[in-house]
């Protein structure tokens, strides 16, 4: 009886809580200011259209005036109003979410999905957006992902 009790105590004592270690939130390692001045304009111009990433159901969700808004606008004036701070932050977190903890910036889908397949890009329903890795848009996003870039004005 005592032996069983000791055994049970030993087993219980051996138990420990097992949990996945939370991954680092990529948005904490990326510069939102640089995103807003250098990357968000690219996403707005190239990606934000309603049949594309101006759609809440897509992995990369882009809010822009006149297209997808965080709250349903009551009229066209509200639809075309400037983005709120929350919407801009939403664009940042959506884009930052593609920075997987164990992947390099060069493997980021923000870059690879929009690159021609002949240059190592992945298939993209919207086609190749960047002409090459020298494309200023590619360079701007890459610099943001690697902690570089700066707002010039």
């Amino acid at each position: 009886m005592v032996r069983r009790l000791h055994c049970a105590i030993f087993v219980i004592a051996a138990c420990t809580t097992v949990a996945n270690e939370p991954a680092t939130d990529p948005s904490t390692t990326l510069d939102e200011t640089v995103f807003r001045c250098n990357v968000e304009p690219i996403l707005a111009r190239q990606c934000s259209y309603l049949g594309c990433h101006g759609n809440a159901g897509t992995a990369l969700r882009v809010f822009t005036p006149g297209k997808l808004r965080a709250t349903t606008p009551a009229n066209i004036d509200q639809s075309e109003a400037m983005l709120s701070d929350a919407e801009q932050h939403g664009n940042f977190t959506s884009a930052a979410g593609f920075s997987l903890p164990d992947s390099s910036p060069g493997a980021n889908l923000l870059l690879l999905k929009s690159l021609p397949q002949s240059l190592g890009g992945y298939e993209h329903l919207g086609g190749a957006i960047f002409t090459s890795t020298e494309d200023p848009q590619f360079v701007a996003i890459y610099r943001w992902l690697t902690g570089g870039g700066a707002c010039t004005d």
Binding site: A23, E40, T64, P65, G66, S79, K113, E123
Partner: protein, 336 residues
């Protein structure tokens, strides 16, 4: 009286959806600051990844079609002449959306009480060379004459983008289903030029003053029109090349043999079939070890979206603590 003499090309409508730019200046406006397209005309040209009006005017039923017409029929039959100026017309055919507002097109909009929606349609066009660069010079066609950029009078129904590479509707007047423009061909040697165009049949927004224009409920048609260079030597037919399904000679041999093979014995038929198979195998490619890296690329898998799959796989591996066994096409390290 200017007489449009030729209806050159009829183009089938394509269905698709996206957000509207009811006024031409929105094509140049910044997409982040003021609901613009940032200079993208959405005409389907390669430099815009083929994006058309359907990038926003989604779920279009595709009931409309479009045509590109020219004052000189030879443009489409013989080809473009260097430095020749053409009067082109983009025509939206079979309009149905918003036609109930077309009867009194000038009596609509927010200034009318009670509010009446406008029948607002649009188009975009550019002409590119074989390297997908816009060529020639675009201009408005107003009162029977070509009007260069910078001197277009207010109220002209078309607008050339700021960089001169494409032309779109201006937004007013309403109820238009045809837009006239001028295009001056480039100097000789540009080769075949392709016209990329798209039209939108607007339905008057949601019918209220709150949304006089929106991308839903509209119709879209897009088209691509190749225009040869007059007098230019046709490009040589594609030659050479080989794939893993067999050589061209082998396939021709198969075709030639089909007629005769029905009249010979089963044994000979099998022998000839085997022979044809061997001949066809001559077109198969031996994959070298250093080429396997290409086969191992994610975009070589039989998957419509390898990148998305990789992302899903990554999450699954994290959840389940497992990895591998998903049909990878092998390492790219050159191992045999």
């Amino acid at each position: 009286m200017y007489r449009l003499t030729c209806t050159a090309v009829m183009i089938a409508a394509l269905a698709g959806p996206a957000r509207a730019f009811p006024t031409g200046d929105q094509f140049d406006a910044d997409a982040l600051a003021s609901d613009g397209a940032g200079g993208i005309p959405f005409d389907g040209a390669p430099r815009w990844a083929g994006h058309t009006c359907a990038s926003c005017h989604s779920n279009a039923p595709g009931r409309i079609s479009l045509a590109l017409e020219a004052d000189q029929p030879a443009l489409f039959t013989i080809g473009w002449q260097p430095m020749q100026q053409y009067h082109l017309r983009v025509v939206l055919q079979h309009e149905w959306a918003g036609v109930q507002y077309a009867a009194d097109a000038s009596n609509c909009g927010p200034t009318v009480t009670p509010y009446v929606p406008c029948d607002q349609n649009g188009f975009a066009l550019e002409l590119d060379d074989t390297k997908a660069h816009p060529v020639g010079t675009l201009a408005a066609f107003v009162n029977g004459a070509c009007v260069p950029v910078g001197t277009v009078p207010i109220g002209a129904p078309v607008r050339v983008l700021n960089d001169g590479t494409a032309i779109t509707h201006e937004g007013i007047p309403y109820a238009l289903t045809a837009w006239d423009l001028c295009w001056t061909a480039p100097a000789a040697g540009a080769g075949t030029i392709t016209a990329y165009l798209a039209v939108v049949d607007g339905n008057g927004g949601d019918g209220t003053i709150d949304f006089p224009a929106d991308p839903t409920g509209d119709d879209v048609a897009t088209g691509v029109v190749p225009i040869a260079e007059a007098g230019a030597i046709a490009p040589p037919a594609q030659t050479g090349g080989c794939d893993a399904t067999g050589s061209a000679a082998g396939l021709w041999l198969v075709v030639a043999a089909l007629g005769a093979i029905t009249r010979i014995t089963r044994f000979r038929r099998r022998a000839i079939a085997a022979l044809l198979t061997i001949v066809s195998l001559g077109g198969c490619v031996h994959v070298r070890p250093y080429q396997r890296g290409t086969l191992a690329r994610k975009d070589m898998t039989f998957d419509p979206d390898p990148g998305e799959s990789q992302l899903d796989l990554h999450m699954q591996e994290s959840r389940e603590g497992s990895a591998g066994g998903y049909g990878s096409s092998g390492g790219g390290c050159g191992c045999n």
